[in-house]
Symmetry: C2
Subunit: 117 residues, 2 copies
DNA sequence: CGTCTATATAAGTCCGTACTTATCAATGGA
DNA sequence: TCCATTGATAAGTACGGACTTATATAGACG
């Protein structure tokens, strides 16, 4: 399942928002989601599985609890895909600052190491 | 249809990538997409309709041609949603630079105008 | 006016996926 | 050891959406 398909579901987006605030046990996530969306515990568990399988979330066991947290990698890929469109809304001078902040330095370093005649 | 659902389809993502390079007539988009995905002209037209209806693309007529271009608004909303996760991969000092570039100035202005006792 | 090209719409099919209820597995504590 | 709690899995249903072919609309041009 592609990253954007994962984010296409409002329940999954909300789960990620909850996890963005910090690691949380499945039960706590389930409670919030059930309150907001009125779906069953298995439904939430299935969404958590999708988030695990697609790399958006990681789990660790603690007793009978399952503690979920965000894995940012796929979100970062989404962020990278958006790059090609930022030119449409980012004023140019500020775009430069953003590029610097985003690690153009790393790219420049790679370029230097790669190419010189 | 939610922005992330729109972006969930690989054909629509590719169309947006093509339009990111500049305004293009439907026929040109259709030709590229058919070459890459092997789907029919109506299928591409339907995707273009979704992009129109969801605000990702705008059209203007020129004779019998329909010229499509990116409307960045929904992409910018996606970008804004990602903000809450950038803390996971953006080093703090650079995050500051990014925030400045992203228009915290506008927000600060609004804050000033809004609140003071 | 007739026809060719460019694009959109109509109608129907099919598949994926987001649910449901029922049940399983594993830990903790009386 | 037995029961309660926490969470995942199984199996089945239903609905949305991404296609298909066929057809409509509308400008260009002889």
């Amino acid at each position: 399942m592609h990253a954007f398909d994962v984010l296409g579901d409002p329940v999954r987006r909300r789960i990620l928002e909850l996890l963005a605030e910090g690691e949380r046990p499945s039960g706590e996530v389930t409670e919030s989601i059930q309150a907001e969306f009125g779906i069953s515990q298995p439904a939430v568990s299935q969404h958590l599985k999708v988030l695990r399988d697609s790399g958006f979330a990681e789990v660790r066991a603690e007793g009978t609890r399952r503690l979920y947290r965000v894995d940012p990698a796929p979100l970062q890929q989404v962020d990278a895909w958006l790059e090609q469109f930022r030119v449409f809304w980012t004023p140019r001078l500020e775009a430069l600052a953003t590029e610097v902040a985003r690690g153009k330095r790393a790219r420049a370093k790679a370029d230097n190491e790669g190419g010189g005649p």
